[in-house]
């Protein structure tokens, strides 16, 4: 990192719905661990184009979120890039405004969006029960994910 690259670490999720909040909890922990002028750590529960709004102005983004894959094991952590979401269930809408498309839309409009995006996705077990805590397998993945993000940052 050259100190001039503006980086956003974005914890994404719904902190009312059990494992769906894991991205937010990882970001909350990272706020205590990251202290550099070129890096912002943010938590958000927004969806839709509002996500794009948050990415504007950064050169690089590291996004942390929950994911559910067929056959996935709760607590597993994947490092992904936006292209991986072209066929994923959650980030693609019924209209193909998948992550890649949305970024492309933003760039076509001249929005200064990150050139580099990395996503750390944690396999979730329960995203439908109201709870401000994750299930134990997902909770135990939080420290490991924090370290992975820090490594990515450096």
């Amino acid at each position: 990192m050259d100190g001039k690259t503006k980086t956003l670490i974005l914890g994404l999720g719904n902190s009312l719905l059990c494992d769906d909040g894991v991205g937010i909890y990882v970001a909350a922990e990272l706020k205590n661990r990251v202290d550099r002028p070129d890096t912002t750590v943010m938590e958000t529960g927004v969806a839709g184009l509002s996500l794009l709004d948050l990415l504007v102005g950064y050169d690089r983004a590291i996004i942390v979120d929950a994911i559910q894959t067929v056959g996935g094991k709760a607590g597993e952590i994947y490092r992904l890039e936006p292209k991986a979401f072209d066929t994923a269930l959650h980030t693609a809408s019924a209209h193909g405004i998948d992550f890649t498309t949305a970024l492309e839309f933003g760039k076509k409009l001249g929005l200064p969006l990150p050139q580099e995006i990395v996503i750390f996705a944690i396999e979730a077990s329960d995203v439908s029960t109201f709870s401000e805590e994750c299930t134990s397998e997902v909770k135990s993945a939080i420290p490991a994910c924090v370290e992975m993000v820090l490594q990515e940052l450096n």
């Binding site: 719905l17 839709g48 067929v70 209209h95 076509k108």
Partner: protein, 486 residues
């Protein structure tokens, strides 16, 4: 047809699923729409301070947090038996109108627009916002972003931040507008009115002047004769923020009109063995199954429903658009589900005009924005129109305002029965023995639920903000014939 039992355990969590079952002849026998039920809200709310609920519940949904915030705030008014001062109510409605502009804009251009602007048979790679701006111009894409950005600025102004604002309080709001802010809101509102007019023109040029699209809109495959629900003011005009819930029958006649506290006298829930989700219906008509008609208690709560349930709009341009809507489609009520997209644009214009009206109201910069509650809390119900439909919050507390019981009915749940019916009817019309199931055909089935603008908390993950849905088609042996995952 081979009887297939749907095992709840096999359902995938986290997204919606539509399962279509074919009979031996290859015709659609049945279809089921399921969404993951959000469990444990009542338990989660127990023991919490009711006053925290506007902040907590707005986190339920990543797409319409303002709707939950407002419904919850109104519930607190009722709970604490406090009537906010007039400037506070106007500020709330101003805030809410700005939110409506952002939300309806996003839905039309990102989710609905591509169906019509690109066409249902267009390749999936083009049926999205990129295809739209390639066709109608980059400038329109910029206008969409601008409309959202400017109205988020209003939310930020009043709520302290654009996301998860801190605004509604029992008896009022936390912040008002000074004159400089008011002027800024007024300008944003003027720009929003122009944008809404442009959006209706886009719809006119691209959809209404295209016979194929109009035929599709009025086709039987996408038509249901149901009851319609929406909030109305004292003159029975559409109001997103406040009023009574009005229900009209399939002939457009008023069937019921009730205050929020009376909702349980009018709406009951039906349970199906194959679904976690319950299906609300009109108690006084009764549950007769997934059928439409006057004898069936199935109702819809959508932008189309709101226009059907009301006698008009309070603002002049929106009223003109409303009249044109009905004269074009053959009078009231309109039963064509795809017309919901048009209704959404009429509402977009109303929201922008209402925003302008309120920004010019002499009370809007008043500092009298809160009445401190003094009564002991006990029970409260608050209803608003979320962009997707009627949203209800209901809290029962002890004398200190600690929640003992809480319930909420979201728009998607209101429309659950209707969505099932819409999908089944479209599937039956489109899937025929021997006919190849193409991408375009599946898209036309998707078009049956898209107008409902399904909003689920799990949509937090999606850039579109809409629920990811999986469509699975089974033959009579229960084997998967086709699968479409979005």
């Amino acid at each position: 047809m081979k009887k297939i039992t749907i095992d709840p355990i096999t359902r995938l969590e986290g997204h919606g699923k539509i399962e279509i079952f074919l009979n031996d002849a290859g015709e659609v026998e049945n279809s089921y729409f399921q969404v993951p039920e959000l469990r444990g809200f009542e338990k989660f709310s127990e023991g919490r301070l009711a006053e925290d609920m506007p902040q907590i519940t707005q986190r339920i949904c990543g797409v319409c947090p303002e709707a939950h915030h407002m419904a919850s705030t109104k519930t607190l008014d009722d709970l604490f038996h406090v009537d906010p001062p007039s400037p506070a109510k106007k500020l709330r409605e101003l805030f809410y109108s700005a939110f409506y502009v952002t939300d309806h804009t996003t839905h039309f251009y990102i989710l609905a627009g591509p169906d019509f602007i690109m066409g249902p048979e267009a390749p999936v790679a083009e049926r999205n916002i990129l295809g739209v701006i390639a066709k109608v111009g980059l400038e329109l894409g910029g206008a969409v972003i601008n409309a959202r950005m400017k109205n988020h600025r209003i939310i930020h102004m009043l709520g302290g931040r654009a996301v998860h604002p801190v605004f509604g309080l029992p008896g009022g709001v936390s912040k008002g507008l000074n004159e400089d802010e008011r002027k800024e809101v007024e300008q944003i509102a003027k720009d929003s009115v122009e944008f809404a007019k442009l959006s209706l023109k886009v719809f006119d040029d691209i959809v209404l002047k295209n016979k194929e699209y109009v035929d599709m809109i009025v086709s039987d495959a996408y038509t249901h004769h149901t009851y319609y629900m929406g909030l109305v003011d004292e003159k029975n005009k559409v109001n997103f923020y406040d009023g009574k819930v009005r229900v009209v029958d399939p002939d457009g006649k008023e069937f019921a009109k009730y205050s929020p506290r009376e909702y349980l006298d009018h709406v009951a829930e039906h349970v199906e063995p194959w679904s976690y989700m319950k299906f609300p219906y009109l108690k006084k008509v009764g549950w007769k199954g997934f059928v439409d008609g006057k004898d069936s208690g199935v109702f819809r709560a959508t932008p189309l429903s709101r226009l059907n349930a009301a006698d008009g709009m309070t603002t002049p341009l929106a009223q003109e658009a409303y009249e044109r809507f009905y004269s074009t489609l053959g009078g009231k009520p309109v039963h064509h589900t795809l017309a919901t997209h048009w209704a959404r644009l009429v509402e977009l214009l109303y929201a922008a005009e209402r925003l302008l009206e309120l920004s010019r109201d002499p009370e809007i910069t008043s500092s009298n924005i809160r009445t401190i509650p003094t009564a002991t809390p006990d029970e409260g119900v608050g209803i608003v129109e979320a962009p997707r439909g009627t949203l209800t919050h209901h809290y029962i507390t002890d004398e200190k305002g600690i929640i003992k019981k809480a319930n909420l009915i979201v728009a998607t749940v209101n429309n659950a029965a209707a969505v099932n019916m819409s999908v089944k009817k479209a599937a039956m019309a489109l899937i025929k023995p021997g006919k190849k199931i193409t991408e375009g055909l599946l898209n036309r089935i998707e078009m049956a639920w898209r107008p409902y603008d399904l909003c689920l908390a799990c949509a937090t993950h999606t850039l579109s903000g809409q629920a990811p849905i999986e469509v699975v088609i089974y033959n009579s042996k229960g084997e998967v014939v086709e699968k479409l995952s979005r």
